[in-house]
């Protein structure tokens, strides 16, 4: 499997809304920590090291 960089989330606006809402009421430090936990949870779900390596690269590129 390779890293999917095409749209893959149904109802993207709804997802984005819940992502931002998950941070509601958190301080900046708490939000950063939350983001870190979230990344680790998602990374574990992906599992595949090659995909994760590509994702690490893709996020750098900007």
């Amino acid at each position: 499997m390779s890293l999917n960089l095409n749209p893959n989330i149904p109802d993207p606006d709804g997802f984005y809304d819940s992502l931002v809402q998950a941070h509601e009421g958190l301080s900046k430090t708490q939000s950063d920590a939350y983001n870190a936990r979230l990344i680790l949870v998602l990374a574990n779900h992906i599992g595949d090291r090659a995909v994760l390596a590509d994702a690490l690269k893709a996020a750098h590129h900007a």
Binding site: N6, P7, N8, I9, P12, D13, Y16, D17, H23, H61
Partner: protein
């Protein structure tokens, strides 16, 4: 004397004294307060159906300065049904491409017109005064043919007395005041609705702490006919976001997001506006085309709606019932759908062909539409104006990723452009007994498709229709009647079914019978024709049970 709150672009209904001003209050079946786009669309629809409509507006024409500029496909389809669509298409600017920028970089482009086989484009840009004028022009045409529509300009409603089964209105005119009575009163009197205030009804929601400077400029420039939107614009003084969008008559809409703490009077100083506009227009290649400021204004926005759009014999439509931020062009576009939804129901009720309860479905269906619009425009506004440092970081991350990766593009939100809502699971819906495409499911607005020399929507006009696609309806059956309501059969034999029509209404099904409401939403559908089923669905669709 009614207050003059704004200048008019077109003087369309000058004040004329009527005999009723000197008599005891005259009773009218339907009175519409407010001759904006929604009031006029409703009056036109009712008048064409033969139900008398009296419009009272406190001015004598259409307000100067365009608020709405983007009119969506569904609005054009409705205007077409009302006879005003062609004038709008002829004058309007068709556009499909949108470009999104973040600072100096181009993030991506989108094209709104993915599907062939529709009579109307996804969007046109047209100044709101033209939109309203074309509706009034068509009202004049219908009046000449005898449609019972009357417009009274400079008739300001100053009070309302609710008697349960009718209301009395106090009206102020240049010749003093008078009263009339209405069996049904439709408040199309805008976001500040005086009628809503007279009735003490609340209008709760969210205020966005932001000011938007709007400058419509007239120039001969070779910018393409595209929607250009900047997040964090690179040019001086543009604020957090900016927009450039073409209108007819060489006018361009320019928008700057200025933030909350501003000095309005100072920001409206023409020299200051010109400095901003110069910076934007010059950002492309350093040259600034000659331009004139046509109209400037500063707006703040709110997202809110009334809890119920019906209060006894008073109904609310358009901005009086719901208000959205303009990102997504959902204000006038959704209000026209209110008029579309209400006109046929009110017509049936006034004629005694359907029970009053049918009007409750107006509130149920259109408040569902309003919720969808408010949700979409709230999300767009939140994306434009992130509320916290973290949401700002996410927003900018999305914009950066979208430059390189397709996956992030659907997350970029500079306004989700208005599409009509589907009345899923609503009380007027009948059975969905056909394995056919989702786009034409029960509750959905009928998708357009080529048919004969024209389009299927042209055939689905008037009252209820029964679209019979390769179906076994006996040729002598031209309509199905339940009580006083008839659905006219629109037969389409197999060899007349175009590819697009098949793809949108049949899919793999061999035949289909669609019961379609006068507002072109699907009421029920089956594979085969059966009189009893159609009659039962007609009862449901007219609120008869």
């Amino acid at each position: 004397m009614p207050d003059v709150r704004y200048e008019t672009a077109f003087k369309l209904y000058p004040y004329e004294k009527v005999a009723a001003q000197d008599t005891a209050p005259v009773r009218h079946p339907v009175v519409i307060v407010g001759g904006g786009p929604i009031g006029m669309a409703l009056a036109l629809d009712l008048g064409q159906r033969g139900t008398p409509a009296l419009v009272l507006d406190d001015h004598d024409g259409v307000g100067l300065g365009s608020r709405a500029i983007c009119f969506a496909k569904r609005t054009l389809e409705i205007a077409d049904r009302l006879g005003a669509g062609q004038a709008m298409l002829d004058k309007g600017v068709v556009w499909n491409v949108g470009r999104v920028f973040h600072g100096d970089s181009s993030v991506f482009d989108f094209n709104l017109l993915p599907e062939e086989g529709h009579a109307h484009p996804a969007f046109i840009n047209l100044q709101q005064p033209y939109f309203e004028k074309f509706l009034v022009d068509q009202i004049r045409v219908e009046q000449a043919k005898g449609a019972p529509i009357e417009i009274r300009g400079r008739n300001q409603v100053t009070g309302l007395h609710d008697h349960g089964d009718h209301v009395t209105l106090d009206i102020n005119t240049p010749d003093g005041s008078y009263q009339i009575e209405a069996d049904w009163l439709i408040a199309c009197d805008g976001a500040r609705s005086p009628v809503r205030d007279f009735m003490g009804l609340s209008f709760e929601g969210r205020v966005f702490e932001d000011n938007f400077l709007i400058a419509d400029v007239k120039m001969k420039a070779d910018f393409p006919t595209e929607r250009w939107f900047w997040f964090e614009p690179p040019f001086e003084g543009a604020g957090q976001s900016a927009l450039l969008h073409k209108q007819p008559d060489d006018i361009w809409r320019i928008d700057f997001q200025l933030g909350w703490d501003i000095d309005r009077a100072k920001e409206l100083d023409p020299d200051r506006i010109r400095t901003r506009v110069d910076a934007m227009l010059g950002s492309r290649d350093g040259t600034i085309p000659d331009y004139a400021l046509e109209w400037t204004s500063i707006y703040t926005f709110q997202c809110r709606r009334m809890e119920d759009f019906r209060h006894g014999s008073v109904l609310f439509a358009g901005d009086s019932a719901h208000q959205v931020s303009p990102f997504g062009a959902r204000g006038a576009n959704s209000g026209v759908q209110d008029a579309d939804n209400l006109a046929w129901k009110l017509d049936l009720v006034v004629k005694g062909h359907a029970p009053e309860a049918l009007l409750d479905s107006y509130s149920t269906e259109r408040s569902h539409g309003a919720d969808e619009n408010i949700l979409n425009s709230t999300r767009a506004t939140d994306f434009l104006t992130p509320k916290s440092e973290t949401s700002q970081i996410f927003r900018n991350a999305v914009l950066q990723l979208a430059q390189h990766h397709a996956f992030a593009r659907p997350l970029v939100n500079s306004g989700r452009l208005s599409v009509p809502c589907v009345y899923d699971e609503m009380p007027l819906n009948g059975p969905d007994k056909l394995h056919a495409p989702h786009v034409s499911r029960v509750g959905a607005p009928c998708p357009d498709a080529p048919l004969g020399d024209g389009y299927v929507l042209n055939a689905l006009v008037g009252g209820f229709t029964l679209l019979a696609l390769n179906a076994d309806v006996p040729t002598e059956v031209t309509g199905v009647t339940e009580a006083d309501v008839t659905a006219r059969v629109v037969p389409v034999p197999d060899d007349a079914i175009t590819d697009d029509l098949r793809a949108r209404y049949l899919g793999d099904a061999k035949s289909a019978v669609y019961l379609i409401r006068p507002d072109q939403h699907v009421a029920a559908r089956w594979a085969d024709f059966d009189t009893a089923s159609v009659r039962a669905a007609l009862r449901t669709a007219c609120g008869m049970e």
